[in-house]
């Protein structure tokens, strides 16, 4: 059978790096083909080349047996290639229908388009209101816009770039049904992911990329997840140590009845959140992005204090009335989700970035004047202790890779020896080596008696390192659950907005 898509010897270089190195593989009609690899393995570059966003330096593509050159996404769509991006190309302040129209090259008049959209929604049993503004939609619904947009063009090849990273387990299951159905109708699917259990459940073939090269092609249903993971990473997996020995003591961080308005313009309000984190404990907050995680973190760190009610206390002493600096003095350290421009100033040196959050606890400022020597020494200590790859304390934060910058930021906070550490997405966009290092550092801090609060969309990460987990949904926090013996299904339902007894029609629709 003629392959739907054939790649031969695709090479793409960026200054100083080779993103794709002679990559070749093919996808058959109706096949669900996984493209597997770590962050930075070159997956995204490859799909951008297939979709015409970027141009390969060498190598060629063939579509349905014919050699093709794809110069733009438009040409890709004309060939019958549809794409659902990892970071949705959506316009928040516009309606679903407007967004879909923007994604089409030659959209029919509004009425007709709406009819066709409703037809696709019915055919594939997808719930979505074409007239809603995008910013009011959940992440799962947003993804459906992208899918509908792609399906309207009746694609022969659908590329899905990390589609499940932001979905609840139930939404993932629903997505898989749609994809299987599409494949049975003859549409090929190129499924990009690093989540092995999903690939095992969905795909027939997997191409594994590492460092821009194809390192293996296999049938994921036959391989063990561990074997595929090791191929992906190029080494053996290391387990976290010291986890079982964790002893939990008295409550260090106590949050009671916390409510706050959402961040403008599209944020989620926090509603009556209560929990506590004990000494030596890792407490995880799971949830789909945009359910109040950013609000919770910035309210606890003190970055947002307007309209906040309820109490936050460290070791029983309320810190609700304190500023960011006051809370740091009281023993709180925090690391927000975004490294670039939030946890660190990209254009400043690491020494200056040390001053940003460690100045009072580490004595980097005296009498209003910066102690540059002390700042450099502290930054150097962090670089050393957290094996940050950088030219030194004078290196600009933006010259570091994401993983190294994250290690620096985590190190900067952890080495201040806080009694409470609050972290969001500690390993987002970080390679496996750095991720393991960061998780271990948090476990070690907990072992020294600190309380750790981890907010993450990566459920696997939370299950691996936390003692208890609660789920945040539309600004409400569920009851905490012990990780031992936890039911993934229950966590998934909570993520989708099903709270205990309320699992009625409303919830079922949301989960759909």
């Amino acid at each position: 059978m003629t392959p739907r898509l054939q790649l031969s010897g695709i090479t793409k270089r960026f200054p100083g790096v080779v993103a794709n190195d002679a990559v070749s593989f093919s996808v058959a009609p109706g096949e669900i083909h996984a493209l597997l690899g770590e962050n930075g393995a070159g997956k995204s570059t490859l799909v951008k080349i297939i979709y015409g966003v970027q141009r390969a330096d060498e190598g060629g593509l063939a579509f349905d047996g014919r050699p093709v050159e794809i110069h733009s996404p438009k040409e890709a769509r004309a060939l019958g290639i549809g794409m659902v991006f990892q970071h949705f190309s959506l316009f928040e302040a516009m309606t679903v229908l407007e967004n879909i129209a923007l994604g089409m090259d030659d959209p029919p008049p509004r009425r007709e388009l709406e009819g066709r959209v409703r037809e696709v929604l019915n055919t594939y049993d997808l719930a979505l209101d074409p007239h809603r503004d995008v910013h009011t939609l959940s992440v799962g619904e947003r993804q459906r816009i992208e899918i509908v947009r792609a399906l309207l063009q009746k694609p022969k090849l659908l590329i899905m770039d990390e589609p499940t990273s932001v979905l609840t387990p139930q939404e993932v299951e629903k997505l898989f049904e749609t994809l299987r159905r599409l494949a049975s109708e003859g549409c090929s699917i190129l499924y990009i992911s690093h989540k092995l259990h999903e690939i095992k459940a969905l795909c027939e073939t997997a191409t594994i990329l590492r460092g821009g090269k194809v390192v293996a092609t296999c049938d994921p249903r036959e391989e063990s997840t561990r074997a595929m993971a090791e191929l992906m990473i190029g080494g053996s997996l290391k387990d976290l140590t010291g986890k079982d020995a964790a002893l939990t003591g008295a409550a260090r961080l106590t949050v009671a009845g916390l409510s706050a308005p959402g961040e403008p313009p599209f944020g989620t309000a926090l509603k009556d959140i209560s929990f506590n984190v004990r000494a030596g404990e890792c407490f995880g907050i799971a949830g789909v992005a945009g359910n109040g995680q950013n609000e919770l973190l910035s309210v606890i760190s003190g970055e947002r204090r307007d309209g906040v009610s309820g109490t936050i206390a460290i070791d029983g002493k309320p810190i609700t009335g304190l500023s960011v600096t006051g809370r740091r003095a009281a023993g709180l350290a925090s690391v927000p989700e975004e490294r670039n421009g939030h946890a660190a100033v990209p254009a400043m040196s690491l020494a200056e970035n040390a001053i940003l959050s460690a100045r009072s606890r580490m004595g980097l400022v005296g009498g209003g004047i910066i102690r540059s020597g002390a700042a450099r020494r502290y930054a150097a200590k962090v670089i050393e202790a957290f094996s940050v790859k950088a030219t030194g304390p004078g290196a600009a934060a933006k010259s570091l890779s994401g993983g190294n910058l994250q290690k620096f930021v985590m190190g900067r906070e952890i080495m201040q020896d806080p009694s409470v550490l609050v972290v969001s997405q500690p390993t987002w966009g970080v390679d496996a080596g750095a991720a393991a290092f960061i998780r271990q550092a948090m476990i070690d801090l907990a072992a020294r008696g600190a309380a750790i609060l981890v907010v993450s969309q990566d459920l696997d990460e939370l299950l691996e390192m936390c003692d208890r987990i609660a789920v945040i949904n539309t600004g409400r926090l569920s009851e905490p659950m012990d990780v031992k013996g936890i039911s993934i299904e229950r966590v998934g339902l909570l993520m989708g907005g099903v709270h205990g007894a309320h699992a009625g029609g409303d919830a079922a629709e949301k989960a759909a």
């Binding site: 010897g9 090479t11 270089r13 960026f14 200054p15 100083g16 790096v17 080779v18 993103a19 190195d21 002679a22 770590e38 962050n39 930075g40 393995a41 070159g42 995204s44 570059t45 330096d57 060498e58 060629g60 970071h87 460092g211 821009g212 910035s298 003190g302 970055e303 500023s323 960011v324 600096t325 740091r328 927000p336 975004e338 670039n340 421009g341 939030h342 946890a343 660190a344 100033v345 990209p346 254009a347 400043m348 001053i355 940003l356 959050s357 100045r359 400022v365 209003g368 910066i370 790859k389 933006k398 010259s399 570091l400 890779s401 994401g402 993983g403 190294n404 966009g429 390679d431 750095a434």
Partner: protein
């Protein structure tokens, strides 16, 4: 084949220093061409404006006297600009500074004492601050864009000046001219160098520039301002509040502009007149940028812009160049500076045609080969792949 901009991995220090020089040189060349095209004596204009004044010792005095207010205002503005706070109401704050100082002067016309001038100066600073406090209040309390509010107040300040000159403050013995009485000796700036025009505003400007430079580089407040400008979210994370920075920047900017105003009123003018606003508040914006928002650079840039004023005047008398030519030269300088500015963050590279399909695969090399990756785009450029690649390569 063509040219393309490639982001630099770190900002180029050399370009940072070279860009203003390139901009000035480009202005000279383009200015000569443009004015020739407009039917003027282009090269002559450039010579008269930018070279002739430097050859005369007397002109140097003018230069320093004109540079002082520009430098003082621009140093104040640079604090705000660094923090992305766009106070463009310096002209109005300058006028209010002059008016506040004049107000004190008119109340003390019959008095004597060394305390009068310092009191006038204090009043001038406070006057400028008060005028700048309006946009700061509107921004922090009601979220009103400070660009628009501070600019609108410039027009209001001019009307206030006209009103006071026409009515309440008019010199009763001034033959009905709309201007105040001349200031007394105790209300006039002493000369820094006796026998010249160089009043004490000149050393004050230099001292303020040096102080501001030290504070911006070494104080935690300077750090706060830089962080707010570079990454507002990080500033919040670091415990620096946007509102307090806004107040700080507006009050410093307004206070400095007010100081420049009262120094001009008590110095070169020696009274208050309707012609008091000379556009220094706008020109200082150019000075601030040409000086790279660095107080030391601003001291130099103020001299360059003062040159356009002094030279512009002499070009008027010598070759009959219209007065408006000065403004055109100043604006061109800012255009060229903004154009060359991107060379700090980007570099111009020749794009070569894509290598032939048959190029040997060996040329691809190892991904980890790059110890220096000069052309790597910075993460905020919006391409996550690049960021991911960096990680893979660094490990």
């Amino acid at each position: 084949m063509g040219w393309k901009l490639e982001p630099r991995r770190e900002e180029s220090r050399a370009m940072m220093l070279a860009a203003p020089v390139i901009a000035v040189v480009a202005t000279l060349i383009a200015g000569a061409i443009v004015f020739t095209l407009l039917g003027e004596n282009g090269p002559g204009a450039v010579y008269q404006i930018f070279v002739a004044p430097l050859l005369s010792l007397n002109r140097w005095q003018d230069l320093l006297v004109k540079a002082a207010p520009l430098a003082i205002i621009a140093v104040g503005l640079s604090v705000g600009f660094r923090a992305n706070i766009w106070n463009i109401g310096a002209e109005g704050q300058y006028i209010l500074g002059g008016l506040a100082g004049t107000g004190v002067a008119l109340q003390t016309l019959d008095l004597e004492g060394g305390w009068i001038l310092p009191l006038m100066i204090l009043a001038g600073v406070l006057g400028g601050m008060a005028w700048a406090a309006v946009p700061a209040f509107l921004k922090t309390r009601l979220n009103v864009n400070e660009i628009l509010s501070s600019l609108m107040l410039n027009y209001v300040a001019i009307q206030l000046l006209y009103y006071l000159m026409r009515g309440p403050w008019k010199d009763p013995e001034g033959f009905n001219f709309p201007q105040t009485a001349m200031f007394s000796a105790d209300q006039t700036l002493p000369m820094a160098v006796p026998g010249t025009l160089i009043h004490i505003g000149v050393p004050i400007a230099a001292a303020l520039g040096l102080t501001a430079w030290f504070l911006m580089v070494r104080s935690i407040t300077g750090f706060q301002i830089r962080v707010i400008g570079l990454a507002p979210d990080a500033a919040r994370y670091g415990g620096f509040r946007q509102a307090s920075t806004m107040w700080l920047a507006m009050l410093v900017g307004g206070g400095m502009a007010g100081l420049a105003g009262v120094l001009e009123a008590a110095g070169p003018f020696g009274q208050m007149v309707p012609q008091f606003p000379t556009g220094y508040g706008y020109t200082a914006i150019i000075v601030a940028f040409l000086g790279r928002l660095n107080p030391l650079g601003i001291l130099l840039a103020a001299l360059v812009l003062a040159l356009t004023y002094v030279g512009g005047e002499s070009a008027q008398t010598v070759i009959g160049l219209p007065a408006a030519a000065t403004g055109v030269f100043q604006a061109m300088m800012l255009f060229f500076l903004l154009a060359t500015d991107m060379l700090v963050r980007y570099r111009l590279t020749r794009t070569t045609p894509a290598p032939a399909r048959t190029a040997p695969a060996a040329a691809a090399g190892e991904p980890s080969a790059g110890s220096g990756r000069p052309g790597e785009p910075p993460p905020p450029a919006g391409d996550r792949i690049q960021r991911e690649r960096t990680e893979a390569a660094a490990l």
